[in-house]
């Protein structure tokens, strides 16, 4: 299968960083996922073959890491932290709010317009600025329900462009 030129370049560059090929696996899977939306069977086979691994072994690794997925998520994956510091400052309420607002179940499914999915996540390293969430890789902190509405709206707009 063909990867984008950028991903190919990334792959070639990373291979040079390590004494063993498979060492590129974890970050490269994430970069591949960024490009494809999720890790398709085809991509898994391709990566396995490039790194002299079995597809099974690649799946073993994928299934270990919580950011890696083998099923699609929304274009914007809303990841709300409910871990202790966020919990203390209303993280659960933020999660519930986002879920209701977008009309999707937590950790399941994609919103009807295909734009959003909602995930409850563990600490994302924003504890002093809780409650916090990430939309894809973007951090949003010191959240309130109103702020969440604004943020989601801005992504919805972006998706429409």
């Amino acid at each position: 299968m063909n990867f984008s030129d950028q991903l190919e370049a990334r792959f070639a560059d990373m291979l040079g960083h390590y004494p063993t090929k498979r060492s590129v696996l974890v970050p490269f899977l994430l970069y591949t996922q960024d490009e494809l939306g999720y890790l398709t069977d085809e991509a898994i086979e391709e990566i396995a073959q490039r790194l002299d691994l079995t597809a099974l072994e690649v799946r073993n690794v994928i299934s270990y890491y919580s950011m890696l997925r083998t099923r699609p998520a929304g274009k914007y994956n809303v990841q709300v932290c409910t871990n202790i510091c966020c919990l203390l400052r209303g993280g659960e309420e933020i999660l519930e709010h986002a879920r209701k607002k977008l009309g999707v179940a937590v950790n399941k499914g994609i919103s009807e317009d295909g734009v959003f999915s909602v995930e409850e996540v563990e600490c994302i390293g924003a504890c002093s600025w809780a409650p916090a969430m990430q939309v894809n890789y973007d951090f949003h902190e010191n959240l309130t329900e109103a702020k969440v509405d604004e943020i989601l709206e801005s992504y919805r707009k972006k998706a429409q462009q």
Binding site: A48, T54, L56, E57, R59, N60, S63, Y64
Partner: protein, 789 residues
Amino acid sequence: MADAPKLVNITVNGKKTTAPAGTLLIEACKQIGIEVPSFCYYPGLSLQGACRMCLVEIEKMPKLQTACTTPVAEGMVVNTESEKVVQSRKAMLEIVLANHPLDCPVCDAGGECELQDMTYTYGAAESKFIDIKSHRDEQQWSPVVFFDRPRCILCYRCVRVCGEGMDVWALGVQNRGQGSVIAPNKQDHLECEECGMCIDICPVGALTSGSYRYKTRPWEMNHVGTVCTHCGDGCLTTVGVRRSDTGMEIVRCDNRDKSGINGDFLCVKGRYAFDFAANQERITQPLIKRDGKFVPATWTQAIELVADKFKQVVQKDGPQAIGVIGSNRTTNEENYLLQKFARLVLGTNNIDHHRTADFPAFAKAISENKARTASMRDVFEAPAVLLIGNDPTEQHPLLAWQIRNNVRLHRSKFYIVNSQAIKLRRQATQFVQIPTGAEARFVDFLSGNDAAAGTLTQAGASNENLSQLRDALKGEQNLVVIFGSELRGADISALVKFAAPQNAKFICLGDYANSRGAADMGLFPDLLPGYATFAGAARYQQEWGADVPALVGMDLKQMFGAARDGKLKALYVVGSNPVSRYALDPFVLQAPFVVVQDMFMTETAIAADVILPAAFAYEKSGTFTSTCGDLQMLRKAGDVVSVKSDFEIVVRIAEKMGYDVRKLVPFGKGLRADMGQSRGAQSGEADRHSVWLQARGLEPKVSPFDPLATLDEIQRLIPGYDVSQINLVSGNDEHTQLVQIQNASIPSHPELVVPSNDTLFTSGTLGRYSTVLNSVMERRATGKEVAAD
């Protein structure tokens, strides 16, 4: 030899002991009889430290330590039974049982479950856990492998045995935390070698065998240790049998007895391919052809007919008009008896068998060079192994396991010369690919003919590779040299000559469970048992009290030729299918009187006039000689009432022909008597047997069907077979040697060697009638090789 590791002093539970530095504490404890419980530790597999069952107290260490990962150190003081340790174990079991379905009464492993045993020994009486347990449905991963996830305790033994042991890497661990699960390589199913090692090694009932699961309970079976009936490697297998309407039904095969040459190993055939025994198409009654159709007959009718016809032919057309073809699957005693029957009762040397390796040439090479053969155990210990030809992964699965694990665990060197990129190359120190059919030329090159190199380099190997390999081999002392049927005749001599000076040992690979035995027992028209030529017949005549026919007999192909020419009037085929194996014209069998002794309607059996239904290896006792020369004893496990062992059939025909069976089977002559070995310990056969003996005024303990009496005779005649019978009877293997009996040159016929070309999933006729093997092959897609970890 490397220096033995230094001994260190340790104290365990107050007992002082020593152990070589580097020994794992769990092993050191075992050696002094102190059992440290474990789930994830498995000798010979990588260390995990995952189950935490083996935690013990070590002085000066604040935390409990895992005995399975801690090497002993000088002055170590260990307590494996302190209050803290006992408490920890108990808690660990409570924790693992929290999510375990406690339905042992319906679990397939009930009665053979390490978790059950452990809970019984170390566990807590009540469970503190009251929340809902996770449930998942059971999954079928292959025709033979089932997975019941909630029972899995994640000891990773299956993953390791499949990867490290089998080099298949078909099992993995997926997800993490409580979601962790053992996963098959094709997401919802397995594509693998189907060896079932993962099932065998599973301490609980998480992985279960498709052919055995839910059939019975372990304690409802009798477990009989015997030798696998498939390839020539001679794995010990434990046959689980239970009473059925027709005798004793074989319910499973496994390797619960790990003391055999195969240790932990059994391949798909050894483990699952016993089901042909109960195949609907198995012939279970004597059949006589009348007007072109087989009609059932009684044993008395059939034996009488055969005996009469044989007698007639011998009297009318002379012994040269009758031929006998023996089997690679019958016991040594049966093979020996058969050649004796041919030579003494029929009076002919027209006896042969389907040859899958040039054993006569091998015997010649070994004796001429005063070299030795290697045992299967040697292959696991040797500092270096050379393999020429063959694909052991397919044809000699145990041998492949031994080589692989020798490389893995002992870092032995391993050299391969093959025309194909066989899977074992992944373990090879050096792999040299040569053109198809060039094995002999390679030997020529080894022997110093540099010019031969030129013709060897077309398949990828360079001149440099070849020279490197030759130099490396010359430097290997105590090498084990293994070769396939690609090498025959003089090439074998050349190879043995090359390596013998380095104290090498040799293995010649033949294809069926007892092909080596068939050869050793003299199923040859020109060789007596032990590869003796007729020039040395005197010893045999003395032992047998009868003359060996002087004339060299016809080989298998010549017999068929004689049949075509109308010169062969009768043919007796025992457990063999020459029509198919040698692609011979079955039409030529129309004229002679043909008797076939078999389990199934083979291409040869169809042409028979009489078919005598025979028992197979698991239904009788006797010995097999593995392709390496390892001698082992079979024990009767299964029993089908209406069939008879080849041994018994031959004796009965001889008796009916008026021959004094005491001359054929020396029962009562030696020291031993049949103490029940030939009878299933639990079947009705014991009664039938003693009825027969009583009718003939014989004592039940000395019987003409006693294979051990014949083994006595074999041992007297074949010097290399003079091994401890006590050891054999106790289920151990004894390595035989090809000891030179006489100086005569042994004739070899390379052109008669026809390899069976069986694969991991085929096994000649038996395989064709194995439902399990057939379903495995159907499920198998392309069989593409997988990359290693």
